[in-house]
Amino acid sequence: MDIRDAFRRYRPGFERETTRRAKRAAIAGLPAFLILAVTGSMGLALIIATIVFIALYVPAWDSLPLGHWIVTLSVILLAVLYPFYYPNLFELPIFGAFPSVDTGVTMLIYIMMALGLNIVVGYAGLLDLGYVAFYAMGAYTAAWFASQHFSNVTFHLGGVGSFGEKSSVPGIHMTIWLVLVFAGIFTALVGIIIGFPTLRLRGDYLAIVTLGFGEIMPQIANNGDNLLGYNVTNGPQGINPIDPPGFGNTLHNAVGLPSDYLSSPTSTRLFYWTALVLVLFTVFCSMRLRDSRLGRAWIAIREDETAAAAMGVPLMRTKTWAYAAGAFFGGIAGAYYASFKSGTFPGDFYFNISVFILCMVILGGMGNIWGVILGGAFLSYLNQEGLANIGAWMNANGVSDAVFGHDIDVPLYTSGIFGVILVLTMLFRPEGLIPSSRRKAEFREGVSDEPLYDVQH
């Protein structure tokens, strides 16, 4: 082969790779620079921007071992160390302080739920408006297996902290790790049961049916204190306290692992790191699922159901698996959240939560894991702290006075703001902030759901 031929063949790819890295560096470096320039010193901003630029652009990281993972690994490292450097962080303009570690836990749990929903909506293209049902299922599983709710039974398995393994506290008390597995499996089963009759419906009908299930679930939770004579959910009072996570006294004494998160002095950090591990697990599973045979079948169904069926993809089974997988992660997240908040209440499971999680998936970019993580982190931060901070800033700096004539309570507008985000995303960037390339093509060019002879009006 002629050397020039080889060179010519090589160059286009090389150019693409270079531009790609330059773009990445610019995208990462510019905001870092701007944020620092506004808040801190110019010099520091320049240094950080340079570091980001060098790290992402200059060396051919991709040729090194682990090179592909350098960005991912740095992000994970930053996330893991967050509780340590968080107190020293500067204040952002408008948004105020960085989220506290406590908010971080909630953010991570919502990210996990968003990733679960992403499997259903993003991969398989089934609009699920009742995802909160799975979250509720997981939370109640945790409540059943790790609280004093069933006080006529006394059962301890790998008991937690203060209860010890041989304690005589009434109720079922299992270690959280088992409860998480149970919650996942149980919720996946519920997903299959819900999915079996409904998944044969298409598009918007499926959305409505899932919405129906999502509405029925809190009502069952609310009325479940007398379900055929049994007190299943303890009604509107909810079930609390739920046991905290922990490794039990045996492991505590032997290896030094925390026996009980709540009584540990670094309790919030422990919750944070555990949530982070769960999110990483979800990300790993999402990636592997996406690239598996099943994942490709999901994408095929999403793009063209008829064609997929013609190619031999079993529609019902594949869709049910998508549902079960999404439910699995929703259930684990729900159980962990219940354990974190140490209680579960029917009022937590209303439709707006479903839409809230859907909003994360859509804003971030359906089908793209990194997009969904970004969307989930940003929106749950807004919901937890961000909107209150922004409101405080607006009121303090006279923005509210100038625009509205009086101070305003920004969190009052939460649902409206999420509505606006949904509408604007759908109108101007339906593929989300960080789209997967396939999804983008579908939204830009349309899918075969439309008739081929479609004309523009």
């Binding site: 918007d204 299930f213 019902m316 707006n352 409206g416 509505g419 606006v420 509408v423 009006h457």
Partner: protein, 348 residues
């Protein structure tokens, strides 16, 4: 549209005869339950029947709005219920600010009629604006895109309602007369309930006339059947769709007036609740089918009132919402075309 037909027909693994037997058994059990209840407490039964009919008429009016829009765009207009809620809030404001509880007789009716027109215009404006701003740009997007937009719009409108009237229910002065129109089994049917029927029937007649007999109606039906072909025949598709949203909004306004005056309070979440019930009614009657929507509304109204009130083995009001959604799920699974619908949801 032909593919749509094929899709619904292909439902592998299901044998329709088994299905219809399950369905008939369910209906039979419900009928038996009603009969037993009727024999035990006839007076209660009549009373609940009248309540159910009144509520059902309101649900029917809202349901027609869903049905019209679904018929023409195949879009579940989630925001419709919230448009209805805002209309109700406007009625609450007007009733208080015009001090209608101190008026009576002819003046009162004049004001109610004026309020009806204002509420209809208000809701129609909101509905058309939503269509113009949000749905029109998404005509050729995948079907989930407008649906998600509609959910977003519903949240925005709900938030507007929350900011406007606060989180607590707003009470509406009880201005309708309470005299008896007729008695059924010893239960008086009062004017404030009868008015709902009195408004619903002419509105429905006018609507059917509009859709069946006028040029606009013809354009609507044509657009619902095949948008491209309609455009080729010289029908302005966008204007027709706008007109449909206008009509749907008018109906929501009328329903809002009746609901607010009859229930005498309104809350920002009410739109979502009534919207879902009405959507269920529309699906139950066969979405895209106007008499079906009213029939569905009545059925849901009866289900609600009987379930809330009957004494013998009724699940009670705690479960009403679940039962209504249960019906929705059963209908969608067993008979997606609804009671009166055809196999495909194609217009009125």
């Amino acid at each position: 549209m032909a593919t749509e037909q094929a899709r619904i027909r292909v439902r592998p693994g299901y044998r329709p005869d088994v299905l219809s037997m399950i369905g008939l058994t369910l209906v039979g059990v419900v009928a038996l339950w009603l009969v037993v209840n009727f024999i035990k407490e006839p007076a209660d039964f009549y009373n609940l029947f009248l309540i159910g009919m009144t509520n059902g008429a309101v649900y029917g009016l809202v349901a027609i709005g869903y049905s019209l829009v679904y018929g023409i765009l195949e879009l579940i207009n989630f925001a419709h219920g919230d448009v209805f809620m805002l209309g109700g809030m406007l009625v609450a404001t007007l009733t208080t600010s015009w001090a209608l509880e101190s008026k009576s007789g002819g003046t009162l009716w004049l004001f109610i009629l004026l309020m009806l027109l204002i509420a209809m215009a208000f809701c129609a404006t909101i509905n058309t604006t939503i269509e113009l701003l949000a749905y029109r740009r998404l005509r050729n997007a995948p079907r989930l895109a407008p649906l998600i937009t509609a959910i977003g719009m519903s949240f925005i409108l709900q938030n507007i309602g929350l900011v406007w009237k606060g989180a607590r229910p707003t009470s509406v002065p009880d201005i309708l007369p309470h005299g008896t129109v007729f008695t059924l089994g010893g239960i008086p049917y009062t004017w404030n309930r009868f008015i709902v029927i009195l408004f619903t029937v002419p509105v429905l007649t006018a609507l059917v006339w509009l859709v069946q007999r006028t040029r606009h109606g013809k354009a609507m039906r044509a657009t619902a059947q095949d948008r491209e072909a309609a455009a080729m025949m010289g029908i302005s598709v966008n204007r027709t769709i706008s007109f449909t949203f206008f009509i749907a909004g008018c109906l929501a306004g009328a329903a809002a007036l009746l609901y607010a005056l009859y229930i005498t309070n309104i809350r920002y979440t009410e739109g979502f609740r009534v919207g879902l019930i009405a959507f269920t009614a529309a699906v139950l009657g066969g979405i895209g089918n106007l008499p079906g929507a009213v029939l569905g509304g009545l059925v849901i109204g009866f289900v609600e009132s009987f379930n809330n009130g009957l004494g013998w083995h009724a699940p009670g009001s705690d479960w009403t919402q679940s039962i209504i959604f249960g019906i929705l799920i059963l209908i969608l699974v067993f008979r997606p075309e609804g009671l009166l619908g055809e196999r495909t949801p194609e217009g009125a």
